[in-house]
């Protein structure tokens, strides 16, 4: 009984007006919570002592690690939405994975850029063809490809279904890429210089990191809901324009 209720609630969201009303109610709370956590997390990450070896550069970690984590989570959200598109033909899922792709690309770019900035003082180079860096870079390229595919089709529902297929194929392939790149790396570069989060992570670093991770996750969901709302509005405007054009043509 409860399950059928949950399903009905879920399918109610297929009506964009229901979703917009829900977003209207949830968004202020979510945004406020996100701001508070971001403030606390940033405060903590600037007031904790720097690492005795890395100095102040360790503070990059508080941006870098949550962004890298989100770049993965965003792809998972997109894959779930893609299943929603293909299996249930849920209209909101179309909007969801279209809106998530640029966000995922942005978070992946943040992770890459901050990692590069951190790598320069720590490893003495901006970029290493290390397994993790390479696979994140490939993930970034896949996001860009998905955005390009979505942009190149006029009909939004067809674009959504077709890119959902590609998202799912990519989702299956991401573990393979990760695994194979690990393998390739250990074959060619046995002595790795990578020491991403240190041998033991002190509670002093752990707390700001966790708070920042939660704050970033909330930030992602805020932006995601906002982007979905914008997409729904954009489609409404397009429909209205089309109607207006038809009416104007009839008027003449």
């Amino acid at each position: 009984m409860t399950e059928s209720l949950a399903i009905r609630k879920f399918s109610d969201l297929a009506n964009p007006t229901c979703f917009l009303a829900l977003a209207e109610r949830v968004l202020p709370w979510l945004a406020a919570l996100c701001c508070v956590l971001l403030a606390v997390g940033l405060f903590l990450s600037f007031t904790t002592e720097g690492d005795y070896q890395q100095g102040d550069t360790v503070r990059i970690m508080y941006i870098h690690v949550p962004a890298a984590w989100l770049s993965m989570m965003c792809y998972s959200v997109m894959a779930l939405s893609a299943i929603g598109t293909l299996v249930w033909r849920h209209p909101l899922a179309d909007v969801s994975h279209k809106a998530a792709a640029p966000l995922g690309a942005a978070f992946t770019l943040i992770a890459l850029v901050t990692g590069s900035l951190w790598g320069k003082p720590m490893w003495g180079t901006w970029w290493v063809w290390d397994a993790r860096l390479t696979s994140v870079f490939i993930l970034f390229l896949m996001y860009l490809g998905l955005i390009a595919l979505n942009r190149s089709m006029d009909d939004p529902s067809r674009a959504a279904r077709v890119s959902a297929v590609l998202i799912l194929v990519g989702f299956v392939n991401i573990p393979i890429i990760k695994f194979s790149v690990d393998w390739w790396n250990t074959l060619h570069q046995p002595a790795s210089v990578i020491r991403l989060d240190g041998p033991t992570i002190d509670p002093e670093f752990l707390w700001p990191l966790l708070i920042m991770a939660v704050a970033f996750t909330l930030l992602f969901f805020c932006l995601h809901i906002m982007a979905m709302r914008n997409e729904i509005w954009r489609r409404r405007v397009a429909t209205q324009r089309r109607l207006a054009a038809r009416m104007a043509g009839r008027g003449d």
């Binding site: 293909l86 490939i138 390229l141 896949m142 860009l144 490809g145 390009a148 595919l149 190149s152 089709m153 067809r158 279904r161 077709v162 890119s163 297929v165 590609l166 799912l168 194929v169 990519g170 299956v172 392939n173 393979i176 890429i177 695994f179 194979s180 790149v181 393998w183 390739w184 074959l187």
Partner: protein
């Protein structure tokens, strides 16, 4: 299904099929490399397997966008979608035909290019063998990209961009198996078997994904 295979083969080999363009492209890419890195034979021998693999990868991507697009243009794609046998099987046969017409010639041409690269006999044989086993995976992954972009007027470049990141595992294991055959300490068999596994995995996933995309794109 045999009729479909023969029809696709004939179409791609005869004039306008573009199967020969792939070999020419492969030849050109490999011939350009020495101009870029210099004619040092030792260096060429060292990077040779990688160059042959990358050239074959790029050449295999070249004809992908035509896999379903020509069928869509003359309307036969709709017939394929409506016919009795499952679409997955049809796509698999089309992939096979595409591979035989467009990619198998690259595999056969690879020893010649290996000679250009000053590779020794073992390396040439290993490169040919790994290409033979690994290149079907490229076609099968590419089928998904081709099906996704089938309705786009200029899908060719987009297909390459979408497919290339997904092809990286094939490239990694193909090249590492080739190097493992030449350099003594690394064993040849594990990367080669993983390459085979990847090909078989995409023999299942590729046609399923491509069929799904074709059904959704062909409204």
């Amino acid at each position: 299904m045999t009729a479909l295979l023969l029809r696709d083969l004939k179409l791609s080999i005869r004039a306008g099929g573009g199967a020969l363009i792939g070999i020419l492209f492969f030849l050109t890419v490999v011939a350009v490399i020495p101009f870029g890195v210099g004619p040092d034979l030792n260096l060429l021998a060292r990077i040779g397997p990688a160059i042959v693999w990358i050239g074959a990868l790029l050449a295999a991507l070249l004809g992908l966008d035509r896999m379903f697009q020509t069928d869509r243009d003359d309307g036969s794609l709709d017939l394929l979608l409506m016919q009795e046998p499952p679409l997955v099987l049809t796509v698999l046969v089309k992939c096979l035909a595409h591979w035989i017409a467009n990619v198998l010639p690259l595999v056969i041409a690879s020893p010649l290019l290996g000679l250009f690269m000053n590779m020794n006999e073992v390396a040439i044989g290993a490169a040919m063998l790994t290409l033979f086993v690994g290149s079907p995976a490229l076609t099968l992954i590419g089928a998904v990209g081709a099906a996704v972009a089938v309705t786009l007027p200029r899908g060719g470049l987009l297909v390459s961009i979408l497919v290339l990141p997904l092809c990286i595992p094939v490239l990694i294991f193909g090249v590492s198996a080739t190097y493992a055959a030449v350099e003594d300490p690394a064993p040849f068999l594990p990367p080669f078997l993983i390459l085979t596994a990847i090909t078989m995995f995409f023999a299942v996933l590729g046609p399923v994904g491509a069929a799904l995309a074709l059904r959704n794109a062909g409204d």
